[in-house]
């Protein structure tokens, strides 16, 4: 990795490209990189993009915790980020834990709102920094929410991409299959193959994830870093404050 920018900044600018065209994006409490990417998207759009942070006093919901889910179910939210203890090749996500349910070998928090959000938000970006055979698996041990559904099931939304520390995949819903879209600088397609537990499509010529655009990096380190200090203080201290 070059010294010109940090790994987090590369990911933020990549995710911001994946958000192009959205009007309304909602962001969870433990998602600083998607959060920064949403703020960057908002800045580029001259504030036409609306961003709701679900945590903290500045969220704009006034009808309690259900408002986000009601808005999502109505199709008002264009993009959302989900992760997973495990993600498999059909984009099924497991937020409960690996191993046989219910005891699991390591229990995690739970499925949160994924079992609705994943179906109804048109552009769900899977974001999981750890890229390893234990996180990207052939088949998840518990389906918190499935990657695709049979045609009869009401499903206007679903996954469009997967972003990790190594690479960016696009997801083809009709084939229920990931395709390697780009590999981050200083990594190689072979490494991605080694570290991925599921099979995926790979173009003959693999692109490298573009470096952050200079104007976006400037926005990120300026006004967006300021807002990140309040929204995600620990992330801000680690990524922006030391610079």
């Amino acid at each position: 990795m070059t010294d010109a920018y940090k790994r987090e900044e590369l990911l933020i600018c990549l995710v911001a490209r994946l958000l192009a065209g959205v009007r309304y994006v909602a962001i969870g409490a433990l998602s600083p990189i998607p959060g920064a990417a949403a703020l960057l998207t908002q800045a580029i759009s001259h504030d036409r993009v609306r961003v709701s942070f679900l945590h903290g006093r500045h969220n704009q919901f006034t009808d309690g915790g259900r408002e986000l889910f009601d808005a999502a179910a109505q199709g008002r939210i264009d993009a959302f980020f989900l992760g997973g203890v495990q993600i498999d090749g059909q984009a099924n996500i497991n937020l409960v834990g690996p191993g046989p349910y219910p005891k699991t070998t390591r229990r995690f928090s739970g499925s949160f709102g994924s079992a609705l959000i994943y179906y109804v938000v048109p552009r769900v970006i899977l974001f999981r920094e750890e890229h390893s055979p234990r996180t990207l698996v052939k088949q998840v041990d518990f389906i918190s929410a499935p990657g695709v559904s049979p045609p009869a099931v009401y499903r206007p939304g679903g996954p469009t991409a997967l972003v990790t520390n190594l690479a960016h995949f696009s997801f083809d819903r009709s084939r229920a299959r990931f395709r390697l879209a780009s590999v981050h600088p200083d990594h190689a397609a072979a490494e991605v193959r080694d570290q991925t537990g599921f099979d995926f499509d790979c173009p003959s010529e693999v692109l490298t994830t573009p470096a952050p655009e200079p104007d976006r990096l400037a926005l990120l380190r300026g006004p967006i870093a300021e807002r990140m200090a309040e929204l995600y203080p620990e992330f801000h201290a680690r990524v922006f404050a030391a610079a």
Partner: protein
């Protein structure tokens, strides 16, 4: 309408919560009565069935670690930025509690059915998930208003035996200020009995001031109130105080082992004076 609100002690407040109670609680985006939670542990309540709107953090972890919980219906238990909930994780892996894994909007919807007095609420999503597969009490029907071929999940109404929450203030008539955290109203409307701890008593009526009235829960739904200044500590109470991060870090360290957790209970739950109340 009395000149002064009759409050009860925290011990009297929780005396209604008996072993096996289906207890409705919110996460800290609403108000969590940690003061009453510690009192429940001191009293030694057993076999609680927690219904979390829609998740829980330290409250569930403490109750589970102290052996007070038989079952939990929730979409997550997590200490959020402080990490996984150590006693919850341990209890699930050892099989000492039963978890009914859910999803956030389902927790809201089951209470919404109860507050409307209808037997069920439909919800999109869920079909094809293992959440639904492990929920024999949730049904899939064909949408009767469509021409056919539109499966949708029905969730049963849930009316918790008791809802336990914490809020900034109660007024002299027993109305509670909950602000914009309307899920507290949903839970109160759905539950059979509603218990509140509050930071303080407001001398007038919340309904005298339109700005306060918009954030009020009518006393119609409230059965008992205890005063508990800093009663959500060490969790946040919106508009009042922030999470005690130092304490939460300390909890995470201590609760990593059963011995450390026992020491935590001794220091901050059984030793009444050490806790904020």
């Amino acid at each position: 309408m009395s000149a002064e609100l009759k409050t009860v002690s925290i011990e009297d407040l929780i005396s209604e919560i008996s072993d096996g109670c289906l207890l409705g609680i919110t996460n800290e985006l609403g108000g969590v009565s940690m003061a009453a939670t510690r009192a429940l542990i001191r009293r030694g309540v057993r076999d609680l069935r927690l219904f979390c709107l829609p998740t829980s953090s330290l409250q569930a972890d403490l109750l589970i670690g102290a052996g007070c919980v038989a079952e939990i219906d929730t979409s997550a238990v997590t200490l959020n930025e402080f990490g996984l909930a150590p006693r919850f994780v341990s209890a699930v892996q050892e099989g000492t509690i039963t978890v009914h894994d859910s999803t956030c909007p389902a927790m809201h919807a089951m209470l919404q059915a109860a507050e409307k007095g209808v037997p069920f609420m439909p919800l999109r999503g869920l079909i094809g998930s293992d959440i639904l597969r492990h929920r024999p009490d949730w049904k899939v029907i064909d949408n009767p208003f469509a021409a056919g071929g539109d499966p949708i999940v029905l969730l049963p109404a849930v009316a918790p035996d008791i809802a336990l929450m914490h809020a900034p203030m109660a007024d002299r008539d027993g109305n509670i200020y909950i602000g914009r955290r309307r899920e507290m109203a949903t839970l109160a409307h759905a539950a059979k009995r509603v218990l509140f701890t509050v930071e303080r008593i407001h001398s007038g009526s919340l309904f005298d001031d339109e700005a306060l009235a918009t954030g009020a829960l009518s006393g119609l739904y409230v059965h008992a109130i205890a005063e508990a200044p800093r009663g959500a500590w060490p969790l946040v109470l919106g508009g009042e105080y922030e999470t005690d991060s130092l304490h939460m870090h300390r909890y995470v360290q201590m609760a990593a082992t059963p011995e450390g957790f026992a020491a935590y209970l001794n220091a901050f739950v059984f030793n009444h004076a050490a806790a904020a109340e």
